[in-house]
């Protein structure tokens, strides 16, 4: 790529018009520097990238300089072919070039030796972005990952064999800004609290998917730098999250509300996005969801899905509650994502319990079977409930059918 001194040399401020004839012969590809072609190849999976070696002699060894490697077993017919491929790529790649990003996604249990080789290669080539997705025992994850000085982004989505893997007690990742963890169990101290991230001095974004606390009920996250925090919860891991994160600006939650967010933890948060779900009747979910909303004292923008509002509506006598929060809301967005089958069933069941006459009950069941129940995807009165302290906030109902959501991504 042209550096700035080259760039200024190309610009001649005195010549106001340039003859068209001079520029008609811009040869598109031969003018593209290798680094630009490598940008394109970085977006391909490694198999496709390596295959460009037969295009022409210029391309023969180009892939060996790839700064990004996407190694996905799904692009290969068998795991054996994939393993051989990974091994060849690591052997043949130009090892004088730093590896910027590595994304390893392997179906099933990874061979410990291969994993060790990949991680050691990445760490010794100054890896900055590392994504690992596979099944394994955490004991097999080379500990060098947790003390890599160059890592800025780490995504560990490890699917355990048996129990969920334990998260290491100490981390030495001084450059890490984005941390994405799936399926880890944090070990609590003798007082029942786990505090796994306090060593990360530059943490900006944290995503916890289906994580739990072992031998305890408190997960403490203290980070003066954390700005974005996301929790996804598909299972039933009930614990309390205590945030000591004064810079936290945005918070997102997806899944079943199982984690209580401690009081005043979310007081600095401006942007909140909640997509709550319920797959069976458990009164704890609406209670936990409501308790999170009570902490949103400085939130300007709240985005919720229709299912979130439905889960909330299951809290008994909800409308009698005087909210101490949501007084600074400027915008409320409701995504009209269709309700799940299970949630619709829960809603109808709850309604049925309140109905006295048989005839009415039969009509309700009929309407449910015809897909007409719940009649309104947003529960009546709930928007007004949320806006009780910010009546002038803008309300936006967003169409969020599956097709729409997918066409954008």
């Amino acid at each position: 790529m042209s550096n700035s001194s080259d760039a200024t040399a190309l610009i001649q401020p005195t010549t106001k018009t340039v003859k068209v004839s001079e520029c008609q012969n811009i040869d598109i590809l031969s003018d593209l520097p290798d680094c630009v072609i490598l940008h394109i190849l970085s977006f391909l999976n490694a198999k496709e990238a390596v295959r460009t070696c037969v295009l022409s002699s210029r391309w023969k060894d180009l892939w060996k300089c790839l700064p990004d490697l996407k190694l996905h077993s799904s692009h290969f017919r068998t795991i054996k072919i994939f393993t051989k491929f990974v091994s060849r790529v690591l052997s043949l790649r130009d090892s004088s070039i730093a590896l910027h990003a590595l994304d390893l996604n392997r179906k099933g249990c990874i061979e410990p030796r291969l994993l060790k080789r990949i991680v050691n290669y990445a760490v010794s080539h100054n890896i900055q972005r590392l994504g690992l997705y596979f099944n394994c025992d955490i004991a097999q994850i080379p500990p060098t990952i947790f003390s890599c000085q160059t890592l800025t982004y780490l995504n560990l989505s490890v699917f355990p064999i048996g129990k969920r893997p334990f998260f290491p007690k100490s981390l030495n990742l001084p450059a890490l800004t984005t941390f994405h963890l799936q399926n880890f169990a944090f070990c609590a101290d003798h007082d029942g609290r786990a505090e796994p991230f306090s060593d990360l001095s530059r943490l900006d974004s944290l995503v916890l998917c289906d994580c739990s606390v072992r031998d305890g009920i408190f997960l403490c996250i203290s980070s003066p730098t954390l700005v974005n925090f996301t929790v996804r919860s598909r299972f039933y891991d009930f614990y309390e999250i205590e945030l000591c994160t004064p810079s936290l600006v945005s918070f997102a939650f997806i899944g079943k509300p199982c984690q209580i967010i401690s009081r005043s933890s979310l007081s600095s948060v401006k942007y909140v996005d909640i997509d709550a779900e319920m797959l069976d009747m458990d009164t704890k979910h609406p209670l936990i969801l409501l308790s999170s909303l009570l902490g949103l004292v400085n939130t300007k923008s709240l985005t919720v899905t229709a299912s979130t509002l439905q889960v909330l509506s299951l809290y008994p006598d909800l409308f009698e509650i005087k909210l101490p929060s949501l007084g600074n809301l400027k915008s409320l967005k409701v995504k009209m994502k269709p309700l799940s089958y299970e949630l619709r069933k829960i809603l109808v069941y709850t309604k049925l319990q309140k109905i006295k006459s048989r005839k009415e009950a039969a009509e309700l069941e009929k309407a449910y079977k015809a897909g007409l129940e719940p009649s309104s995807i947003i529960p009546e009165g709930i928007v007004e409930f949320l806006l009780q302290n910010s009546p002038s906030a803008e309300v936006d109902i967003v169409d969020w059918s599956w097709s729409n959501a997918h066409s954008i991504t």
């Binding site: 520029c23 496709e48 037969v54 295009l55």
Partner: protein
């Protein structure tokens, strides 16, 4: 220095075909090639010829920059814009815009175009990719066969 920079109100960009674009300074921030030139000046207006970028392409790049520089637009709106932006382009346009992005030294736009191009050549045959990039193979059929054999671990 900061005061000098803010004194520039309008930047005139002149494309290869002579077409003229007047833009605000925040629009060209991502164009490092242009920016480095502006930084060395202390005038109220600047006009910069870009002999390697055609007017149509520059218009599209400016449209993209305007959308992305806007603070009023939501993330979703920007994503939808990006989606539509790529959709209306032909392969040639993408390659030309990639070239322009490289020349203007626009990091995120370059990434965006590279990604769009990668999506087009992903899972395509060698012939398709050669055609797409207008590559003349300088291998004899024997050499190519040899190369495939050598790298058969990638062609399984």
């Amino acid at each position: 220095m900061a005061a000098e920079k803010s004194s520039i109100k309008i930047i005139t960009l002149i494309a290869a075909d002579g077409s003229v674009f007047e833009v605000e300074p925040n629009i060209v921030k991502e164009m490092k090639t242009v920016q480095s030139y502006i930084d060395e000046l202390d005038q109220n207006t600047v006009s910069i010829p870009l002999p390697n970028v055609f007017g149509n392409d520059l218009a599209m790049i400016i449209e993209y920059c305007k959308k992305h520089a806007s603070e009023e637009e939501t993330k979703e709106a920007k994503e939808e814009f990006d989606f539509e932006f790529v959709k209306r382009m032909k392969s040639d346009d993408k390659l030309r815009l990639l070239q322009a992005a490289s020349y203007l030294n626009m990091e995120s736009f370059l990434q965006f175009m590279a990604k769009a191009i990668a999506a087009e050549i992903e899972n395509q045959s060698v012939e398709f990719v050669r055609d797409y990039f207008q590559i003349e193979s300088d291998f004899t059929p024997e050499e190519e066969a040899e190369l495939r054999k050598e790298n058969e671990w990638a062609f399984k």
